[in-house]
């Protein structure tokens, strides 16, 4: 099988601090990988390297040129209307369609500054989804969304991924979300991928499935949340 992303012995330091330290990662085309890890462990740093926005201090990295990123902040152009922020060059209809899908059909002509936190995040999501990249990098794209909206957005991403089959790397703090969406969950710790869990339990992806719950408990333990995992 060919790979979409191939990372070997990647290192990245900021001053004295080594954030990524010999990290290896492979993504197959169409594969959906969730990345979890403690705050400040280097998830965004890895995404930026994959996106070609920073250069590594060492190691090898191959990634397709057609990639799209949903940044941790929305990064909307304040001087363009919402629909233009999604379109940026594409026709208005495409943007309107994408915005309707993220539930913002009524905000096409609003200025970004008037959006709520979750609305802005959805616009940024629409901007990435409306283009059909070969690599989709998502940095906590659902963090500012309420439970219901989040479910809808997760379904939307899942559908789009199923349709176009880009490789996806999703950074998330929500273990349930990781299990729900990903083919594989990897945890970043001490600058490398410390653990890897294939989501391959039988049955539906629901907490009622013991396989789900089992993986969930293991992942939370991985993150050091043993007692919480057990508490639930």
């Amino acid at each position: 099988m060919s790979t979409a992303v191939r990372v070997r012995a990647l290192t990245k330091s900021f001053g004295p601090r080594t954030v990524l330290n010999g990290l290896d990662l492979d993504l197959a085309p169409g594969e959906f990988v969730a990345l979890i890890g403690e705050s400040g462990c280097g998830k965004t740093t890895l995404l930026r390297l994959l996106a070609g926005l920073d250069s590594a201090d060492g190691g090898e990295l191959d990634a397709p040129a057609e990639r799209m990123v949903v940044f941790q902040e929305h990064r909307l152009l304040p001087w363009r209307r919402v629909w233009q922020n999604v379109a940026i060059g594409l026709p208005r209809e495409a943007a309107a369609h994408a915005l309707t899908e993220v539930g913002l059909g009524g905000h096409l002509d609003a200025w970004p500054a008037t959006l709520s936190g979750g609305e802005a995040q959805r616009v940024a999501l629409a901007r990435a989804l409306v283009r059909e990249p070969r690599l989709l990098l998502l940095d906590e794209p659902f963090a500012a969304l309420d439970a219901l909206t989040r479910i809808k957005m997760q379904a939307l991403v899942r559908d789009l991924v199923d349709a176009h089959r880009p490789a996806v790397l999703l950074v998330t703090h929500d273990v349930d979300e990781a299990i729900l969406l990903a083919d594989r969950v990897v945890a970043l710790r001490s600058g490398r991928l410390a653990a890897e869990h294939r989501v391959d339990f039988a049955g539906e992806r629901s907490r009622r499935n013991p396989g789900f719950d089992d993986l969930r408990t293991r992942l939370l333990a991985e993150l050091g949340v043993a007692e919480l995992a057990e508490a639930r």
Binding site: L53, V69, R75, P78, W79, R80, G89, W111, R131
Partner: protein, 267 residues
Amino acid sequence: MTAVFARPAARTRFPYRTVSWLTPVAVLALWEILARTGLLPKQVLPAPSSVLAKAADLIADGELPSNLLASLQRSATGFVIGAILGLGAGLLVGLSKVAEALLDRSIQMVRAVPFLAILPLVIVWFGIGEAGKIFLIALGTAVPLYLTTVLGIRQIDPKLLEMTHIVGLGRAARIRWVVLPGALPSILGGLRLSLTAAWLALVIAETLGADAGLGFMATNAREFLQTDVIVLVVLIYAAIGILCDLVTRLLERRLLRWHPTYARLTA
């Protein structure tokens, strides 16, 4: 405890426009009174009314309109050329470190040289026709626009530029989508300086073989101690200052509607 009570939608707003015209009007009125009562000797500062009378004369005999027209043509031409050059150089230097290395230092040198000192060179290069005058006006216009364009580009959030990179915009599209709009507040600030610079440069440009123009008029009045014309020219320049500011304010209101601060400005 603070209490915020309901306020009617149309709460009284500060009457910006009225107040802003008050100061200039008050100054004019005070000046007229001082002149009438003789506290301000006529040779020192003639009354606004007598300056207006002089203006009426000069308008009647066609001198003022023809001078203004001559200068308007010159400064408009020079402004357009200078604005294009200033903006262009600013974009280049703001976006490319190589262009900055090649151009910036020279521009910083040139802009510090007084016009008066380079007049002989201008003559040698451009002769005594319009070209030299327009060159000076263009130079005066280009410098503030150049500086503020570079300034504006430096202040653009690099995160937005990264985003356009990801979205796959080319260089030209990036300029259109991010660089120009992001630098626009600063560029418009520079425009304010450039618009008046185009007129200020006239005073020196029109010592070069001009026989009409506002600057020519100013120089003559100075040489001949025509205090009323001197004051008239000053008032015309002041009016130009207000006009340039108004134009810029209107542009700001229109082009920076998206901006939380500028959107609240009064023109």
